[in-house]
Protein backbone atom coordinates (compact mmCIF):
# COMPACT_ATOMS: atom_id res chain seq x y z
CA UNK A 1 0.00 0.00 0.00
CA UNK A 2 2.79 2.43 0.82
CA UNK A 3 4.24 2.03 -2.66
CA UNK A 4 0.86 2.86 -4.18
CA UNK A 5 0.55 6.03 -2.16
CA UNK A 6 4.08 7.01 -3.07
CA UNK A 7 3.41 6.25 -6.73
CA UNK A 8 0.35 8.50 -6.51
CA UNK A 9 2.52 11.18 -4.94
CA UNK A 10 5.17 10.70 -7.67
CA UNK A 11 2.46 10.90 -10.35
CA UNK A 12 1.05 14.10 -8.90
CA UNK A 13 4.57 15.52 -8.57
CA UNK A 14 5.49 14.66 -12.16
CA UNK A 15 2.26 16.07 -13.63
CA UNK A 16 2.84 19.22 -11.57
CA UNK A 17 6.44 19.38 -12.83
CA UNK A 18 5.26 18.93 -16.43
CA UNK A 19 2.76 21.71 -15.95
CA UNK A 20 5.30 24.04 -14.33
CA UNK A 21 7.84 23.39 -17.12
CA UNK A 22 5.49 23.58 -20.08
CA UNK A 23 3.13 26.42 -19.21
CA UNK A 24 3.93 30.01 -20.12
CA UNK A 25 1.47 31.78 -17.88
CA UNK A 26 2.76 32.55 -14.40
CA UNK A 27 -0.54 31.52 -12.77
CA UNK A 28 -0.49 28.17 -14.58
CA UNK A 29 3.09 27.62 -13.41
CA UNK A 30 1.90 28.28 -9.86
CA UNK A 31 -0.85 25.69 -10.34
CA UNK A 32 1.86 23.24 -11.42
CA UNK A 33 3.82 24.00 -8.29
CA UNK A 34 0.61 23.55 -6.19
CA UNK A 35 0.27 20.07 -7.63
CA UNK A 36 3.89 19.28 -6.84
CA UNK A 37 3.34 20.36 -3.20
CA UNK A 38 0.14 18.27 -3.13
CA UNK A 39 2.30 15.31 -4.18
CA UNK A 40 4.61 16.09 -1.29
CA UNK A 41 1.68 16.22 1.16
CA UNK A 42 0.44 12.85 -0.04
CA UNK A 43 3.89 11.34 0.28
CA UNK A 44 4.38 12.81 3.76
CA UNK A 45 1.00 11.57 4.98
CA UNK A 46 1.64 8.13 3.51
CA UNK A 47 5.11 7.88 5.02
CA UNK A 48 3.69 9.03 8.39
CA UNK A 49 0.93 6.48 8.18
CA UNK A 50 3.05 3.51 7.03
CA UNK A 51 6.40 4.16 8.68
CA UNK A 52 6.20 6.30 11.78
CA UNK A 53 2.67 6.83 13.01
CA UNK A 54 3.83 7.06 16.60
CA UNK A 55 5.65 10.34 16.05
CA UNK A 56 3.91 13.47 14.79
CA UNK A 57 6.79 14.44 12.48
CA UNK A 58 4.91 13.31 9.40
CA UNK A 59 2.00 15.52 10.37
CA UNK A 60 4.34 18.45 10.98
CA UNK A 61 5.73 17.99 7.46
CA UNK A 62 2.19 18.01 6.07
CA UNK A 63 1.44 21.22 8.03
CA UNK A 64 4.68 22.74 6.75
CA UNK A 65 3.79 21.70 3.18
CA UNK A 66 0.32 23.23 3.52
CA UNK A 67 1.87 26.44 4.85
CA UNK A 68 4.36 26.36 1.98
CA UNK A 69 1.51 26.01 -0.49
CA UNK A 70 -0.24 28.98 1.09
CA UNK A 71 2.93 31.10 1.06
CA UNK A 72 3.68 30.10 -2.53
CA UNK A 73 0.17 31.16 -3.55
CA UNK A 74 0.37 34.48 -1.73
CA UNK A 75 3.82 35.48 -2.94
CA UNK A 76 3.13 34.18 -6.45
CA UNK A 77 0.10 36.36 -6.85
CA UNK A 78 1.88 39.33 -5.26
CA UNK A 79 4.75 39.04 -7.74
CA UNK A 80 2.34 38.47 -10.62
CA UNK A 81 0.41 41.58 -9.64
CA UNK A 82 3.58 43.66 -9.32
CA UNK A 83 4.94 42.41 -12.68
CA UNK A 84 1.57 42.89 -14.34
CA UNK A 85 1.15 46.36 -12.97
CA UNK A 86 4.70 47.44 -14.04
CA UNK A 87 5.08 45.47 -17.30
CA UNK A 88 1.50 44.61 -18.35
CA UNK A 89 2.66 41.02 -19.03
CA UNK A 90 1.47 37.79 -17.52
CA UNK A 91 3.73 35.24 -19.19
CA UNK A 92 6.98 34.09 -17.66
CA UNK A 93 8.73 34.29 -21.04
CA UNK A 94 8.18 38.02 -21.33
CA UNK A 95 9.88 38.70 -18.01
CA UNK A 96 13.36 37.61 -18.95
CA UNK A 97 15.37 40.56 -17.66
CA UNK A 98 17.69 38.27 -15.75
CA UNK A 99 18.81 36.84 -19.08
CA UNK A 100 22.56 36.18 -18.86
Amino acid sequence: MLELFLLLAAALFSVGLYGALSQQSIVMIMMGIELMIAGVITAAAALWHFLAPAAADGQVIVVAAVVAMAVEMAMGFAVTTAVFRSRDIDTADAAEDLKG
Binding site: A10, L12, A46, A52, A56, V71, D93
Partner: protein
Amino acid sequence: MTAALFAVLAVLAVTGAVLVFRCASMARATFALLASLVCVGGEVILLGLPYLGVVTVLMMVMEMVVMAVFMVAYMMNPAGLMPMSMVHNRRGALTISGVVFAGLAAGVLLAPWPGRVGTAPQDTTFQAGAALMGDQMLTMVTLGFALLATMVGATVLAVGRGRYDRFGDDLSRPRPDDPAGGGVGR
Protein backbone atom coordinates in the same frame (compact mmCIF):
# COMPACT_ATOMS: atom_id res chain seq x y z
CA MET B 1 -13.20 -0.63 1.30
CA THR B 2 -10.46 1.85 2.01
CA ALA B 3 -8.40 0.41 -0.88
CA ALA B 4 -11.32 1.03 -3.24
CA LEU B 5 -11.76 4.52 -1.85
CA PHE B 6 -8.00 5.11 -2.22
CA ALA B 7 -8.07 3.92 -5.83
CA VAL B 8 -11.04 6.14 -6.70
CA LEU B 9 -9.54 9.16 -5.05
CA ALA B 10 -6.08 8.49 -6.60
CA VAL B 11 -7.50 8.21 -10.11
CA LEU B 12 -9.63 11.30 -9.57
CA ALA B 13 -6.61 13.23 -8.27
CA VAL B 14 -4.37 12.29 -11.21
CA THR B 15 -7.05 12.95 -13.85
CA GLY B 16 -7.80 16.25 -12.14
CA ALA B 17 -4.10 17.09 -12.25
CA VAL B 18 -3.83 16.18 -15.93
CA LEU B 19 -7.01 18.08 -16.75
CA VAL B 20 -5.57 21.21 -15.22
CA PHE B 21 -3.09 21.52 -18.10
CA ARG B 22 -5.40 20.14 -20.77
CA CYS B 23 -8.34 22.51 -20.30
CA ALA B 24 -8.48 25.60 -22.45
CA SER B 25 -10.68 27.44 -19.99
CA MET B 26 -8.81 28.78 -17.01
CA ALA B 27 -11.83 28.42 -14.72
CA ARG B 28 -12.07 24.75 -15.57
CA ALA B 29 -8.35 24.32 -15.02
CA THR B 30 -8.62 25.98 -11.62
CA PHE B 31 -11.56 23.82 -10.47
CA ALA B 32 -9.90 20.71 -11.90
CA LEU B 33 -6.98 21.56 -9.65
CA LEU B 34 -9.48 22.11 -6.79
CA ALA B 35 -10.95 18.67 -7.44
CA SER B 36 -7.49 17.12 -7.49
CA LEU B 37 -6.50 18.78 -4.23
CA VAL B 38 -9.79 17.82 -2.57
CA CYS B 39 -9.03 14.24 -3.53
CA VAL B 40 -5.57 14.65 -1.96
CA GLY B 41 -7.35 15.92 1.19
CA GLY B 42 -9.53 12.84 1.03
CA GLU B 43 -6.43 10.64 0.77
CA VAL B 44 -4.97 12.33 3.83
CA ILE B 45 -8.20 11.72 5.74
CA LEU B 46 -8.06 8.13 4.53
CA LEU B 47 -4.55 7.87 5.98
CA GLY B 48 -5.96 8.63 9.42
CA LEU B 49 -5.34 12.34 9.60
CA PRO B 50 -8.89 13.69 9.57
CA TYR B 51 -8.06 17.14 10.85
CA LEU B 52 -5.24 17.74 8.34
CA GLY B 53 -7.36 16.36 5.50
CA VAL B 54 -10.36 18.59 6.22
CA VAL B 55 -8.13 21.60 6.82
CA THR B 56 -6.43 20.92 3.47
CA VAL B 57 -9.81 20.77 1.75
CA LEU B 58 -10.99 23.92 3.55
CA MET B 59 -7.81 25.81 2.56
CA MET B 60 -7.76 24.50 -1.00
CA VAL B 61 -11.35 25.56 -1.65
CA MET B 62 -10.72 29.12 -0.59
CA GLU B 63 -7.32 29.23 -2.37
CA MET B 64 -8.70 27.94 -5.64
CA VAL B 65 -11.52 30.44 -5.61
CA VAL B 66 -8.99 33.26 -5.02
CA MET B 67 -6.80 31.77 -7.79
CA ALA B 68 -9.85 31.79 -10.06
CA VAL B 69 -10.21 35.52 -9.32
CA PHE B 70 -6.55 36.15 -10.20
CA MET B 71 -6.80 33.84 -13.20
CA VAL B 72 -9.61 35.96 -14.60
CA ALA B 73 -7.71 39.14 -13.69
CA TYR B 74 -4.45 38.28 -15.47
CA MET B 75 -5.10 35.63 -18.07
CA MET B 76 -5.68 36.85 -21.59
CA ASN B 77 -8.18 34.15 -22.42
CA PRO B 78 -9.73 33.05 -19.13
CA ALA B 79 -12.75 31.32 -20.67
CA GLY B 80 -10.61 29.54 -23.24
CA LEU B 81 -12.95 30.78 -25.97
CA MET B 82 -10.14 31.78 -28.33
CA PRO B 83 -7.88 28.89 -29.44
CA MET B 84 -4.55 29.87 -27.95
CA SER B 85 -1.75 27.67 -26.79
CA MET B 86 0.09 29.14 -23.85
CA VAL B 87 2.64 26.39 -23.89
CA HIS B 88 6.33 26.14 -24.82
CA ASN B 89 9.01 23.50 -24.67
CA ARG B 90 6.28 20.86 -24.37
CA ARG B 91 8.55 18.04 -25.47
CA GLY B 92 11.38 19.02 -23.12
CA ALA B 93 9.00 19.31 -20.16
CA LEU B 94 7.41 15.97 -21.02
CA THR B 95 10.73 14.18 -21.18
CA ILE B 96 12.00 15.71 -17.93
CA SER B 97 8.80 14.98 -16.00
CA GLY B 98 8.70 11.50 -17.53
CA VAL B 99 12.27 10.86 -16.44
CA VAL B 100 11.54 12.26 -12.95
CA PHE B 101 8.44 10.07 -12.63
CA ALA B 102 10.41 7.02 -13.79
CA GLY B 103 13.19 7.81 -11.32
CA LEU B 104 10.77 8.33 -8.45
CA ALA B 105 8.76 5.26 -9.33
CA ALA B 106 11.96 3.22 -9.54
CA GLY B 107 13.05 4.63 -6.19
CA VAL B 108 9.65 3.87 -4.65
CA LEU B 109 9.49 0.34 -5.99
CA LEU B 110 13.09 -0.64 -5.47
CA ALA B 111 13.71 1.01 -2.10
CA PRO B 112 13.59 -1.44 0.82
CA TRP B 113 10.94 0.35 2.86
CA PRO B 114 11.18 -0.57 6.56
CA GLY B 115 8.18 -1.81 8.48
CA ARG B 116 5.90 0.31 10.61
CA VAL B 117 7.29 1.40 13.95
CA GLY B 118 4.72 1.97 16.70
CA THR B 119 0.97 2.54 16.17
CA ALA B 120 -1.03 5.65 15.55
CA PRO B 121 -2.62 7.21 18.68
CA GLN B 122 -6.36 7.33 18.98
CA ASP B 123 -6.58 11.05 18.45
CA THR B 124 -4.08 12.06 15.71
CA THR B 125 -5.23 15.65 15.80
CA PHE B 126 -4.31 15.83 19.49
CA GLN B 127 -0.93 14.20 18.60
CA ALA B 128 -0.25 16.84 15.92
CA GLY B 129 -1.42 19.63 18.20
CA ALA B 130 0.74 18.40 21.09
CA ALA B 131 3.80 18.05 18.82
CA LEU B 132 3.34 21.47 17.25
CA MET B 133 2.85 23.11 20.59
CA GLY B 134 5.47 20.88 22.22
CA ASP B 135 8.79 19.81 20.85
CA GLN B 136 8.01 21.16 17.32
CA MET B 137 7.36 24.63 18.76
CA LEU B 138 10.30 25.98 16.73
CA THR B 139 8.68 24.77 13.50
CA MET B 140 5.36 26.32 14.54
CA VAL B 141 7.08 29.64 15.35
CA THR B 142 9.00 29.59 12.08
CA LEU B 143 5.87 28.82 10.09
CA GLY B 144 4.11 31.57 11.96
CA PHE B 145 6.77 34.13 11.15
CA ALA B 146 6.91 32.90 7.54
CA LEU B 147 3.18 33.46 7.21
CA LEU B 148 3.48 36.93 8.80
CA ALA B 149 6.33 37.83 6.46
CA THR B 150 4.31 36.55 3.51
CA MET B 151 1.31 38.60 4.49
CA VAL B 152 3.39 41.78 4.78
CA GLY B 153 5.51 41.03 1.70
CA ALA B 154 2.60 40.10 -0.49
CA THR B 155 0.70 43.24 0.50
CA VAL B 156 3.67 45.48 -0.13
CA LEU B 157 4.35 43.88 -3.53
CA ALA B 158 0.76 43.82 -4.63
CA VAL B 159 -0.15 47.37 -3.59
CA GLY B 160 1.02 49.69 -6.31
CA ARG B 161 0.89 52.85 -4.26
CA GLY B 162 3.55 53.70 -1.70
CA ARG B 163 3.37 55.83 1.39
CA TYR B 164 4.46 58.93 -0.55
CA ASP B 165 1.47 58.45 -2.93
CA ARG B 166 -0.86 58.19 0.05
CA PHE B 167 0.61 60.83 2.42
CA GLY B 168 2.18 63.30 -0.05
CA ASP B 169 5.81 63.96 -0.95
CA ASP B 170 6.94 64.92 2.55
CA LEU B 171 4.41 62.55 4.25
CA SER B 172 2.61 65.55 5.67
CA ARG B 173 -1.03 64.84 4.60
CA PRO B 174 -3.18 64.11 7.73
CA ARG B 175 -5.58 61.74 5.92
CA PRO B 176 -4.23 59.41 3.16
CA ASP B 177 -6.11 59.79 -0.16
CA ASP B 178 -6.81 56.18 -1.09
CA PRO B 179 -8.92 55.40 -4.16
CA ALA B 180 -11.18 53.14 -2.16
CA GLY B 181 -13.06 54.73 0.71
CA GLY B 182 -13.22 53.34 4.18
CA GLY B 183 -10.44 52.97 6.63
CA VAL B 184 -10.58 53.13 10.42
CA GLY B 185 -11.25 56.43 12.10
CA ARG B 186 -13.07 58.03 9.18
